[in-house]
């Protein structure tokens, strides 16, 4: 075991950094909680019959009037905070991961093509990236939301909110991937193994995806983690600006937005517990991202 760990530098470093391990544990715990939310959670915030307004505004169990049924208290709807957070984290992660995945595919695909073929392909793709950059993330999201609102019938809007958010966030993230993939591809293009493959007459797609892609995964993986974190935050921000998710299908961001109303009212748990969760999740992901960066760029150690 120890020998195995020693042989893999990443693993070795991992076992040597308690902080990174803690982050990994937190991230994994939250992710597991989110995945298994339907089985763990006391109430289902989507199921209106499963909670009651009469349980509203109960504080966490250690406070006066706390109720041991609701360990972290309830919100103004009578929903158990733990359940809301688990479901909220679930939605946040779904949005974050989907957006990041779409952005990865889009960005890496375009970046590879731009880097591999260069010339006109490169010019066109990079101009598109420029335009995207000129519209910062938050604007892109507001825009996409606006279009969706404009062209979809209202009832579909409700059902497609999550999709719209995912698309909006993905669109604002892909440039990062494209630029990195392109730059790394340029570097790889000068490597002799790529020239060997091209010279042998291998198909460009094979060269791009079988040969180049695995070699540029390192930096991409780092961006993936960082962007996952920012996607989750962006979703929260959009919720704050009122174009996120509706309150009956809450993400962590929506929970915080709702909680903001209780900033001063004494029901601190409605705001701070989801905020704490969000921060813990995002910090963990960022710590893991930093760690990956270190592993992939030993020069920075």
């Amino acid at each position: 075991m120890l020998a195995f760990i020693k042989r893999h530098e990443g693993l070795w470093l991992f076992t040597r950094s308690p902080f990174v391990m803690l982050a990994a544990i937190v991230a994994v715990a939250i992710i597991l909680g989110a995945v298994f939310a339907p089985w763990i959670a006391l109430v289902n915030p989507y199921d209106l019959a499963s909670f009651s307004l009469m349980d509203g505004l109960l504080p966490p169990v250690w406070e006066e009037f706390g109720n041991e049924k609701f360990l972290l208290g309830t919100d103004d709807q009578g929903r158990d905070m733990i359940s809301s957070i688990l479901y909220g984290a679930r939605l946040s992660l779904i949005i974050g991961i989907s957006a990041m995945t779409i952005a990865t595919f889009l960005g890496v695909g375009l970046g590879l093509v731009a880097g591999y073929f260069g010339g006109r392909f490169d010019a066109v793709i990079m101009r598109i990236a420029d335009i995207q950059l000129a519209l910062p993330a938050i604007l892109t999201a507001l825009l996409i939301d606006g279009i969706a609102r404009g062209i979809l019938p209202p009832d579909m809007q409700q059902n497609l909110r999550v999709t719209v958010l995912i698309v909006a966030i993905a669109l604002s993230l892909w440039v990062n991937f494209a630029r990195t993939a392109r730059a790394s591809t340029f570097v790889q293009m000068n490597k002799e193994y790529v020239q060997a493959a091209v010279m042998q007459g291998q198909h460009p797609l094979r060269v791009m995806f079988v040969h180049i892609l695995p070699n540029i995964l390192g930096p991409l993986l780092v961006i993936m983690t960082v962007d996952l974190a920012s996607a989750i935050l962006l979703e929260a921000t959009l919720s704050f600006l009122g174009i996120g998710l509706p309150a009956d299908s809450p993400s962590l961001g929506t929970l915080i937005r709702i909680g903001m109303q209780f900033l001063l009212s004494g029901e601190w748990w409605i705001l701070w517990i989801p905020t704490l969760f969000l921060v813990a999740l995002v910090v963990s992901i960022n710590v893991l991202g930093d760690f990956l960066r270190d592993v992939f760029n030993p020069r920075l150690r």
Binding site: L48, L53, L57, D155, Q158, A247, G266
Partner: protein, 501 residues
Amino acid sequence: EAFKWASTTDPQTMDPHAVNSAPVLSFLNNIYEGLVRRGRDMSIEPSLATSWEPLGGENGWRFNLRQGVTFQDGSAFTAEDVMFSYERASNEAADVRSWFAPVTQVRVVDEFTIDFVTSAPNPLFPSSIANFMILDKDWATSNDAALPARDAENFATLNVNGTGPFTVATRDPGVKTVLAPHAGWWDEAAHNVTEATFTPIGNAATGLAALLSGEIDFIQPIPLQDVAQVESRDGFKVLEGEETRVIMFGFGHEHDKLLYSSDVTDVNPFTDPRVRLAAAHAIDMASIDRVLFRGKIEAASQLVPAGISGYSEANSDRPEFDPAKAKALLAEAGYPDGFSFGLKCTNDRYINDEALCRAAASMFAAVGLKAELSTGPVRDYWPQLREDDFDMYLLGWSPGTFDMEHPIRFLMHSQDDERKLGSWNFGNYSNARVDELLPMIQQEIDPEARQALVDEVVSITQDEVAYIPLYTQPLIWAAKDNIDLTQRADNFFMLRWVTVN
């Protein structure tokens, strides 16, 4: 004394006839005046008209105008200005023209007398034009503002010249507006404000912080849940009152089937009054009051709150919270397991509107009425309601005339586009007797007879559960302790009643 206050939205224009919205009318009431105005208790009192009486021989009213009134630029106020303002406000470019729908003719009798002729007897006319503000003819015409601006701004969008107690010193739209007292105001000033600064603050938490840090003296409104916080601090007070706005659920009465149901798709159960009554019995107003509104609301039994003229004392009971009865009623109507339907709500229009709907949906669910809740900003909401895109919806209604006739006209009479009746009766609740009673109420001069007619309408609509009235929306303002002000039920904030101690 300098006075600073904040509210959530900036009046989008200074033109009193361009936009018919509460923030604009409320703000401009400090600058412009109408022929009549409302007192602290909402009663109608003389303003630019000293008195008025019904016209003899024809339908309509004669207004005797106040003499010696000057506009803020010093020019004198005469009947010509009223005539001009009428023409301007009833022009098709004006957003407020509906106020003058009953008016057929306006005549200047002499310099200080003017007649408004209406198509039918209209006892409520004087009180319906309390927000009809008068501007100076010469000022408007010489500044190319003879008509309200529609697509481009004009002089009156940013500048004012009213007869009211305050005038605009500087205006930075969306940022800051500074008002100064009008030295030549005809009435005696009950305020001691020398400069009033208005700032719109959209974010509730920021607004509250601004008050608590002492940067503003008064804010309107504050969120319900922060009342305790403000009250607990030294030097601040909360003003609580009831707005005249009643919040209610409406039904798609005329739909033959549900639009958003996953189980009942061939009929519309809400056409059955028993189902509507079941829904009413499912609502636990006490919990809503306690948790969502912290005990600050009054349950409503009809579409106007008590105290509004025409309020039906005889029908002041609302269906009590009784889930068992609700279930029984549903079973009786043929839905022992309930059914699912779509519930539409706003999320930025009424206090806690979204939370209310979620709570209601949860309560409905408890008796088997599975609401598919969809909430959205108000900008998308009205079009959806107009297109009949709902099974059940949330609506708040404030009687513009402070009389029961108003909701009957807009919400209970069957839709009649030509006569502009029932125009907000989205579900098209229709009862022949109610339709018959409305003109009678409108023309009945004798209060008691009129009340009997109104009682009948209320009783019919309660029996048929045309709407589920929920509660009267609370009004919550907060101010520093040293500020005296008057909270009027229409949520209008009048600077002329402010004193800074």
